[in-house]
């Protein structure tokens, strides 16, 4: 009996450690993009199936861990566009121990909303938007980021 309790306690803690990302709609994403914040926002669009996205994730994780108070990292997964089951994303986040905020965008009919996120975006992944709400500056990068590029673009916005 004791062993069972211990086992379930262990299960609970492991589940507790991995964050369950919230599923959001386009209007939630737009609220984040337009949020009146002092912070520089970095919003990355990715998916678990996207090789270049997975490769650049550690750059966002490092930035988030080094988190100066003036930076907000948000990782928006588009996995649901192809597969309605979020379980694969939950497992990926737990396995990779992702600490940055992850959101799952659940929207049908991509042609109706891609331009609303950014007109420069052709819909391919990865894609990253840098926003400085204080100055109104905004930058869109529609390809994989290399080491040092995140810092460079943030620097350019300050």
């Amino acid at each position: 009996m004791k062993i069972f309790i211990l086992f379930f306690a262990f299960l609970n803690t492991t589940v507790g450690v991995s964050q369950k990302p919230q599923t959001i709609k386009l209007h939630d994403l737009q609220k984040i993009i337009n949020a009146k914040t002092e912070k520089i926002q970095i919003i990355n669009f990715w998916a678990t199936w996207c090789g270049p996205c997975v490769k650049e994730l550690p750059l966002f994780e490092e930035l988030n861990a080094a988190a100066r108070n003036n930076i907000q990292v948000t990782l928006v997964s588009l996995d649901l566009d192809l597969d309605p089951d979020p379980e694969k994303v939950y497992k990926f986040i737990a396995r990779k121990n992702i600490r940055s905020q992850v959101l799952l965008l659940d929207e049908a009919d991509p042609n109706s909303w891609i331009d609303k996120v950014d007109k420069a975006w052709n819909g391919s992944l990865p894609a990253t938007i840098f926003i400085n709400q204080k100055t109104g500056e905004r930058k869109f990068i529609g390809k994989e980021l290399q080491e040092g590029e995140l810092e460079k673009y943030i620097e350019e916005m300050q």
């Binding site: 270049p52 566009d81 192809l82 991509p110 042609n111």
Partner: protein, 204 residues
């Protein structure tokens, strides 16, 4: 002042001409340059080979992208539906096979064989054709309408608006475009965007 203005304009034009020969990035209504690429059967296929039909559905596709896998049967069905009425499918793989081993020529041959492709699956190993078209995703469709010996871009974008399940798509963009062209009507939605894998470029 004036000589400087003309000089800078001339420089600008030289730069524009220099880049345009490589990166045309077609828009709807543009005339497409001819191209020739190797097919999975080893034979060369040119766009100008299709000089007796109504048009061609060019699809930039690949072996490895999950969106390409999700759309594979829909691409095969498009050719079955439209090749006989003069609007065949031609698929092009532009992915850099050095980074994406699953997109090697041998793997392309294997996929075409496994899925009984009855349309070309061309290898764009220099990526010149993808750059010429301004293709970005896989699958990325370009519906071309033939006018005499030239081909004009009539539609650019997604195959339909439901990647998960084609039978649930309520907008079948490529079919709508081809049906309109077959009926001599304007294409209802000439350009769309879709979530997808980016083409894997060399040196990027």
């Amino acid at each position: 002042m004036k000589p400087y203005v003309t000089l800078s304009m001339a420089l600008f034009l030289i730069i524009m001409l220099g880049t345009s020969s490589y990166n045309v990035d077609y828009g709807v209504g543009d005339i497409v340059s001819d191209f020739t690429l190797k097919n999975v059967d080893g034979k060369m296929v040119a766009l100008s080979d299709y000089d007796d039909g109504i048009g061609v559905i060019i699809i930039f596709d690949c072996n490895t992208c999950p969106y390409s896998k999700a759309y594979n049967d829909r691409i095969i069905a498009l050719n079955k539906k439209y090749a006989t009425v003069g609007f065949p499918v031609v698929t092009v793989n532009s992915n850099n096979a050095e980074n994406s081993r699953g997109d090697s020529f041998d793997e392309m041959v294997a996929l075409a064989k496994r899925k009984n492709y009855d349309f070309p699956y061309l290898v764009d190993d220099t990526q010149r054709v993808a750059r010429l078209f301004g293709a970005t995703n896989t699958p990325h469709a370009f519906v071309l309408k033939r006018n005499g010996k030239t081909f004009e871009v009539a539609y650019i974008g997604a195959i339909d608006n439901n990647s998960r399940n084609g039978s649930l798509a309520d907008k079948k963009y490529v079919e709508e475009a081809v049906n309109a062209l077959l009926a001599g009507q304007p294409v209802p939605t000439p350009k769309t965007k879709a979530v997808g894998c980016g083409i894997q470029w060399k040196n990027s």
